[in-house]
């Protein structure tokens, strides 16, 4: 299965995502340049973290209008999988692929820390290897992760079950002290109604190998891989998952 990692000027987590897909999951991966007009033949498109276009105007605002994003929108509209991580999540919001917007962190500071995430959906293409209520430890590193929308639209988001992850205490409870950026309703990640587009502020690619201290993030990628395999049964060239990924899959 082929993953396309979009590279905007200022992306800086692109190689980390590429590494996870290519070397940890042992799948085909390629980079997509921001001026590319197609996503080539990629099954999954990842918008990685960083500072696309220097975060000029607003984080993600200029990237959302780049040629590759028109292709990403077509890919998403056709049901293709799209994952936005951190700055990539901000780009998805600015592109209108996911609802809401990011404000500066309530603390006014760039926050770089490990956080606890509670899984709210276990039936998304990306979260099928997880279970509702499961806690994941993942790093965040951002200045604008303060998710915001009108109360009515937040209610609609919740009613539709589109919140995928929330920031919680280590015990899995909602607690402002464990919300790193002031995000409304402790929202850390959301999906679209069709469930094929996921955005989250934490960095699963930074915790996908034992050597990094945690493999909690790998499930996001291995979930996408399992989904893609289901979509194309009998697809050749899909070696068995390495041990670490299998453990997350069944965990």
């Amino acid at each position: 299965m082929k993953c396309g990692v979009v590279v905007f000027p200022g992306s800086n987590c692109d190689h980390d995502v590429y590494h996870v897909w290519k070397h940890v999951l042992q799948q085909d991966a390629t980079f997509l340049w921001h001026q590319d007009e197609t996503v080539k033949d990629c099954d999954l498109v990842v918008l990685p973290g960083g500072f696309a276009y220097g975060d000029y105007l607003r984080a993600g605002a200029l990237a959302a209008l780049s040629p590759v994003m028109m292709a990403v929108k077509r890919h998403a509209a056709a049901g293709g999988l799209v994952l936005g991580i951190c700055n990539g999540f901000q780009v998805l919001l600015e592109a209108g692929l996911l609802p809401g917007a990011m404000r500066r962190n309530a603390s006014q500071r760039f926050v770089c820390a490990d956080v606890w995430l509670r899984v709210e959906r276990d039936d998304l293409p990306f979260t099928r290897g997880l279970r509702i209520g499961q806690l994941l430890r993942m790093p965040v590193a951002h200045a604008e992760g303060n998710y915001e929308d009108s109360p009515e639209r937040l209610d609609a988001l919740e009613a539709a079950g589109l919140v995928a992850f929330r920031y919680t205490s280590p015990a899995g409870e909602l607690d402002p002290a464990w919300n790193p950026n002031g995000a409304a309703r402790a929202i850390a990640g959301i999906c679209n109604p069709e469930r094929n587009v996921l955005g989250l502020m934490p960095h699963p690619e930074r915790c996908a190998e034992e050597i990094l201290g945690s493999t909690d993030g790998l499930a996001i990628f291995s979930g996408a891989l399992a989904t893609l395999r289901d979509l194309s049964p009998g697809s050749p060239g899909s070696p068995a998952l390495p041990a670490a990924a299998v453990r997350v899959e069944v965990g």
């Binding site: 105007l57 607003r58 605002a61 209008l65 600015e94 609802p99 809401g100 917007a101 404000r103 500066r104 962190n105 309530a106 603390s107 006014q108 303060n146 915001e148 929308d149 009108s150 002031g182």
Partner: protein, 87 residues
Amino acid sequence: MIARVTVYPRREILDPQGKAIRDALARVGFAGVEDVRAGKSFEIRLGLEDRDLALRQLREMCQRLLANLVVEDYAVEILHAEGGGRP
């Protein structure tokens, strides 16, 4: 024609930057400052004669790019109807 576009956080949304600035103003003696909204200002030179058309285009610029309407409001004004010099 020279226009100014101002983009600022919506009133009902907490503006942490504005709050920090308000607190700093209070620290240097401006105790009467009740609220600050910190936003952005764009000076835009347009090769247009038609004022209504310019205002229409400026509003569309805000809706499509300059402002994020989920969290921001905007205002547009024409500073100089003629000429390309700085205001």
